[in-house]
Symmetry: C2
Subunit: 300 residues, 2 copies
């Protein structure tokens, strides 16, 4: 069964999506990736371009594929844009999830579905800090309710800040991209960072994909799995690490205009119970990211 399991990955061309496609395709799963834009290719994987905020499009995909597993990574992920286009955040995160769950339910499909929340969700009783937080919180609430009301095989996850080689817009990628770019011209990598003392739990994207794999196999329906490295690191630490990986002196200008959003530490308890632990060291992730951008520069 495992060898021929059919898996639908939404957001297949994103940072986590590409890594997940590669992981499950290597294991012999039949992977179909849903991507937003036409013309995107992913090696070894069937690709369908689709706007998941259109109900008919979602229905057509699920009816055709009838997947055993669904990894729902697609979404609208910018906090900044959510202020201008809150509707796009709600439609992209809540409505797309509703259409997905409803189609699976009405088809009596027994798919195990992984819903991917965010560390930026707000806690019960708190006020959300931005529309993006509203959209991710409602997305996960909806999934929890559908699991409970309709007894569907849905598992919730909340990954932390994901890093690693690939098309990411995270801070670790931005710094590496600047270093690789300046290395070519023997310039000075220089960056503006909001708050060097702000702490984040960084986890390699390959580790989170291994967690999704374990959850598909052994995760408990209705449960929420927080997934992180368990270590909070300041952005200053990130810069220090990179400084040891390049010969150029990195110039950082710190902006303290906005205070950054404080994030709670990750509660890894549930995912540890499945036997998961991160295997990529923080340093090796940064090395791989820098290598990814150095290679991209060479290929340009």
């Amino acid at each position: 069964m495992r060898q021929s399991a059919s898996l639908l990955i939404t957001g297949g061309s994103g940072f986590t999506g590409r890594c997940a496609c590669q992981h499950f395709q290597k294991l012999g799963w039949e992977v179909t990736a849903v991507v937003r834009n036409k013309g995107v290719g992913i090696q070894g994987v069937k690709v369908i371009a689709c706007d998941l905020t259109k109900r008919e499009a979602v229905e057509s995909i699920i009816h055709n594929i009838k997947p055993d597993y669904i990894l729902h990574l697609a979404g609208v992920n910018s906090v900044h844009n959510s202020w201008d286009s809150p509707l796009a955040s709600i439609e992209g995160n809540v409505l797309s999830t509703l259409y997905l769950l409803e189609t699976v339910r009405r088809l009596n499909n027994q798919s195990r579905i992984i819903i991917v929340g965010s560390a930026l969700q707000y806690n019960q009783g708190d006020k959300p800090l931005h529309p993006y937080s509203v959209s991710k919180t409602m997305q996960v609430q909806l999934a929890e309710h559908w699991e409970h009301l309709f007894d569907m095989d849905i598992v919730m996850t909340k990954p932390t800040n994901l890093i690693g080689p690939g098309p990411s817009k995270g801070i670790c990628s931005l710094i590496a991209e600047e270093i690789a770019s300046q290395e070519q011209v023997k310039g000075t990598p220089s960056l503006h960072i909001n708050d060097l003392s702000a702490k984040r739990d960084f986890l390699d994207v390959r580790d989170v994909v291994r967690a999704y794999d374990l959850i598909f196999q052994h995760g408990k329906k209705g449960k929420l799995y927080e997934i992180g490295s368990g270590q909070m690191r300041s952005l200053g630490e990130v810069v220090d690490h990179y400084q040891r990986l390049t010969e150029l002196p990195i110039l950082i200008e710190e902006l303290r205009s906005n205070s950054s959003e404080e994030l709670p530490s990750v509660n890894n308890e549930n995912i540890y119970e499945l036997g998961w632990k991160p295997v990529k060291s923080f340093r090796s992730s940064l090395v791989d990211i820098l290598q990814y951008y150095r290679q991209s520069r060479k290929n340009d």
Copy 2:
């Protein structure tokens, strides 16, 4: 200002909607009612037929009317149907509200908006009992967040079980309709009731409309107003009251197959602070309901 205030009432042809149209139109407000089906007329009121789950339709109405006040009564209100069509509940209650709020926000319109929740919302930490509960809870959450994130003039309300003359499908109307129908043929009014001991807070629809009026004038932005009579009455009491209003003996068969949903008592504190209190006695509401159906029968 008050005399020429422009008011948009969505769900204008519904039970509360018709009563609200009449109330505000009599006060000299310029009332526009949005209704679902074409061909519906409401005396003294401009009527627009529109599907509020279509974004463009909502935008067109708000752009044309630019209302000073919006009473958002429209929605999909059946608990029973929400099991078969949860999508319709979410679209009809959450999405329509999102489109309404977003259109007002993007137009920089300063409308005071009343959002109408339900006694069947679930409490934080509890599990919802049906998809309808999910939809009403999310609707009110969304309104609370938009008030807070975008500083909009939104007030939340949670009315209890509304009764009174007019097209209602509530238990008080069902009993009265059966009595009026049997009075014509000298038959025996007979009803199946799930649980005679189940208690509800019944409030006359005319009293709730007076509360909405007060909230438009003096309500506090961002606040939640629960609105009820403050008295819990069993369905057995309702039957006893009706028995005193008809000469026919009422036959009740009690079904105890499903236990009915227990509802908490209403916390009227916030609305009492505005100087509101219910003026219709429970008995006079029942008399008016029975009169409404006796009259309808005569007119048939």
